[in-house]
């Protein structure tokens, strides 16, 4: 039994099956990310007015690292170009070029995920502290541990917290992540004075909740796409010898998905980093 139009296009639609399939799948993906973006809007509109962290339910600004985010955007856009080049190379029957461009695409994907991991780590080591006298600070703990809270301090029997607060007008220069040397002078804070300690993890604030949910879901898509392309780059490339047209179609559909992943990031970057 042969299923028609797996390789050649059907005349009246002009498409082969997988292309229809991937476009439908992407339509559903639009709804998935659309719902999350809508949630972002609703949460942000519903946030309290005023300046975070002084008002804890206000919406934080400038907490993400814009230069790194911009660089990552460039990385992902480049990968969208290389994946088209990979497909075009196949169309021109240049298998060597395909290998090169697909390899570059995978390299970009790897780069993106690595940079994203670094950014996550940056957040997991960044803290908000509230003191008994009402003072609220953001900053880093000496040694940059991750995920600490008051319970960690109690478990580790720490009596004074070696805390490096961020520079005072934090967030004024939008997005500049305060490097360690910019930190204001500090003295260890006695643990008894601390009423609240939390890293910038999802449960800390709905901003971080939606930031991590959106970017993690996006990163999963990047990883998924990269796995498919890695398959087409190495073991799957055997098909080029037996069924070149079908193989080219596979690269095309994978590429379409990759463009979508790229496009989602193009929306994510301004929404989360810039606005």
């Amino acid at each position: 039994m042969e299923i028609p139009y797996t390789v050649e296009a059907r005349k009246d639609t002009g498409l082969y099956n997988a292309k229809v399939g991937i476009w439908l799948f992407l339509a559903s993906e639009v709804m998935l990310f659309g719902a999350l973006f809508s949630s972002y809007i609703l949460l942000r509109v519903g946030a309290a007015s005023g300046d975070w962290p002084a008002i804890s339910l206000a919406w934080p600004h400038g907490l993400l690292n814009i230069p790194i985010g911009t660089f990552n955007t460039a990385v992902l856009i480049s990968s969208s170009i290389t994946v088209v080049m990979a497909w075009a190379s196949l169309k021109m029957h240049d298998f060597g070029k395909f290998k090169l461009y697909m390899g570059l695409t995978l390299l970009c994907a790897l780069g993106f995920v690595s940079i994203k991991t670094y950014e996550y780590h940056e957040k997991f080591t960044h803290y908000e502290v509230r003191l008994q006298d009402g003072k609220i600070m953001t900053g880093h703990i000496q040694g940059s541990p991750m995920f600490w809270d008051l319970k960690t301090l109690a478990d580790k029997k720490i009596t004074a917290l070696d805390f490096h607060p961020d520079a005072a007008k934090h967030g004024a220069k939008a997005g500049e992540a305060p490097a360690a040397k910019e930190h204001a002078k500090h003295a260890p804070i006695p643990v008894g004075e601390i009423t609240y300690l939390s890293a910038f993890v999802p449960k800390h604030h709905t901003f971080f909740a939606i930031y991590f949910t959106l970017t993690a879901l996006h990163a999963l898509h990047v990883i998924g796409g990269a796995l498919v392309m890695a398959f087409l780059w190495l073991p799957g490339a055997k098909m080029w010898k037996t069924d070149p047209e079908r193989f080219t179609n596979r690269v095309e559909t994978a590429g379409l998905f990759w463009h979508f992943v790229d496009l989602v990031w193009i929306f994510l970057f301004p929404v989360l980093y810039l606005l």
Binding site: M31, L32, A47
Partner: protein, 608 residues
């Protein structure tokens, strides 16, 4: 499971290099017909399971806080203290209620209507050899099956299954079982993710198949109405489910990682402030849930309408009335169903302006539904109707769905909905649509396509018995609920309203009566008896179903109902690859009693 005849095995031999083993043939099959039957059998089992939960709950409603005979002890042995001494605790009632809804909607009706009938019939009706992506089709069933397993297991974990209603409203769903970190709600969400994956894969596959694999000559306006209904259903599943997946991910974050997507600031549980950041929105969950939830209603009903349309055309022996109107209506329903969702939320205080908008769209969507129903009614006019079992179920669908639809109008107007919201009236309304509506259509489909799948007829006498008794008891169950709801009886009460203050019918100072009258409370017993009776009268169906596979009357031709659509132009049962010769289509789907033709039906692939 099913009985493939020798024809099937022979034809299979042409393509396969070796005889497929039991596993590849029945369990890991990529043949759309086998997958359809897998879906069918699994979802019928879940349909009965979901109904069994309700039969147990009906004991608690009729005889609050008394031990359930026989089954009470079994529940205690299986589930422990939640059914102490065989009495259903409120917690268990809530679990069963939530899981009844979830199972019926996501594990029974949708997979039966879309997964089973869609898979089996659509490729045959459009003249395709299989689905466009047979292996994705197989994965779709496996994801559905796994989702069912996860949902089923959740009954037995500490804390029991999800107990916040099938709608899983936050914050209730997050705080309902704080004692267990991984609780019934967690499994509910994981199960839903699997089911959503399944329906996503199915939807992509169906739509691609219908767009790409139509046989030569099968233009869009020659598609049987059933295919149109499945096509629109596919789009609804494709586009409406992802927002629920997004919502599910966020609720999972709330439950496992203490985020506050749906939790407002200052939330207290049993007097203790909840240690979360707050700042979330409970309304957000409701919007995302009902963005799926309302199109889902049409996912439940459209395939049913498609089945009924096929059966009515065949058994009235005349073309369906207003085919174009039907197609346009089903498309209109598809579009409008995405902008009516907040009519489930009139009581949330989202504002009168928004309510008015959704009230308007809700009234508009009733128009295409009425057109479809009217066209089906008019199709009966002047036909020489054959009253066989499938036709009886299809005929009963029309008034039953009519009652369900029309009683929905007072719920669509926000002024009347304020009174009726969350009462038994709502239960009666949507069950009329889904139970004697969709389920009857599905029964009709089972009786109608059974000969194609197995090569044997189901027994007519027991089929008719099944029909008459089901019709009587369905109405005895749901009609009293309208009265209970109008009297003000609330849903989701673990004791049928017996101990709630509103339930006492006592004289107040002015000499009038407060609360619900004893008559209304007494109806709980009537309804429960009818529900158990409905369970009993399914036995003839179950026996008939299995008995007929092996012993039923053999079909004398490939087209026993003398129908026009392509699925009847294949060998019986259809072999792997379906058609012996590539079909070509020359005419519309319902050429019955064409003047001048020798026979009263002209198949789509017949030239003259």
């Amino acid at each position: 499971m099913q009985a493939p005849s020798h024809t099937a095995e022979h034809a299979h031999g042409h393509d396969a290099h070796h005889e497929p083993g039991f596993l590849t043939k029945y369990i890991f099959s990529s043949d759309h017909k086998v997958i359809g039957i897998q879906y069918g059998v699994t979802s019928l089992i879940f349909l009965f399971f979901g109904f069994a939960l309700m039969m147990l709950m009906r004991w608690q409603l009729a005889n609050p806080n008394t031990a359930i005979p026989v089954f009470g002890k079994m529940l205690e042995a299986l589930l422990g203290d939640v059914a102490k001494d065989g009495i259903m605790s409120p917690d268990l009632y809530n679990s069963f209620g939530a899981m009844h809804g979830t199972i019926m909607v996501f594990l029974a009706i949708v997979p039966l209507a879309f997964g089973a009938f869609g898979n089996f019939v659509v490729p045959l009706q459009i003249g395709a050899p299989d689905m466009a992506f047979p292996r994705i089709n197989m994965v779709s069933y496996q994801a559905y099956f796994l989702g069912g397993v996860v949902m089923f297991i959740s009954f037995f974990i500490p804390g029991g299954a999800a107990k916040s209603g099938w709608t899983s409203y936050s914050p209730l769903a997050t705080v309902a079982d704080l004692a267990h970190r991984v609780n019934g709600q967690t499994l509910w969400l994981l199960g839903m993710v699997l089911l959503i994956t399944s329906s996503l894969l199915g939807a992509v596959n169906f739509i691609t198949t219908i767009i790409q694999l139509r046989a030569k000559g099968m233009s869009w306006m020659r598609l049987p109405f059933f295919v149109w209904a499945q096509f629109v259903t596919g789009f609804l599943l494709l586009l409406a489910f992802p927002p629920l997946e997004a919502a599910g991910i966020m609720q999972l974050m709330d439950n496992l990682f203490q985020t506050s997507f749906f939790l407002p600031a200052g939330l207290s549980v049993s007097g203790n402030p909840l240690p979360v950041s707050g700042g979330g929105s409970p309304l957000l969950w409701q919007h995302l849930f009902w963005f799926l939830g309302h199109p889902e209603v049409y996912v439940l009903i459209l395939p049913g309408m498609g089945i009924v349309c096929e059966i009515i055309a065949c058994n009235t022996r005349k073309p369906i009335w207003g085919y174009k109107a039907l197609v346009n209506s089903v498309l209109a329903i598809g579009f409008i169903s995405f902008i009516v969702w907040a009519h489930h939320m009139y009581l949330t205080g989202m504002g009168t302006k928004i309510s008015t908008f959704f009230q308007t769209t809700t009234m508009i969507i009733s128009i295409p539904s009425v057109i479809i129903l009217t066209a089906l009614f008019l199709s009966l006019w002047g036909g020489s109707i054959r009253f066989n079992t499938p036709m009886l179920f299809a005929l009963a669908f029309l008034p039953m769905f009519g009652i369900g639809g029309l009683t929905g109008l007072p719920l669509g107007f926000n002024a009347t909905d304020i009174y009726l919201h969350d009462t038994y009236y709502v239960i009666a309304h949507f069950h009329y649509v889904v139970a004697p509506g969709t389920i009857f259509a599905l029964f009709a489909g089972v009786y109608y396509w059974f000969p194609k799948a197995t090569g044997r007829h189901m027994n007519e006498f027991w089929g008719k018995t099944h029909f008459v008794l089901s019709l009587i008891f369905m109405n005895l169950i749901f009609m009293p609920m309208f009265m209970q709801g109008l009297a003000g009886m609330q849903r989701r009460m673990a004791d049928g309203g017996a101990t709630y203050s509103m339930a006492y019918a006592k004289e107040n100072n002015t000499g009038t009566q407060d609360g619900l009258s004893p008559k209304i409370i007494k109806m709980n017993k009537t309804v429960s008896h009818a529900a158990w009776a409905l369970g009993v009268v399914q036995i003839p169906f179950i026996i008939n179903f299995f008995w007929s596979m092996k012993r039923g009357r053999k079909v004398t031709s490939d087209n026993p109902w003398e129908a026009t659509t392509l699925e009847w132009q294949t060998p019986t049962p259809p072999p792997h690859g379906n058609f012996t010769t590539t079909p070509e289509v020359f005419r519309g789907p319902y050429d019955y009693s064409v003047p001048g033709h020798k026979k009263d039906f002209t198949p789509q692939n017949q030239k003259v």
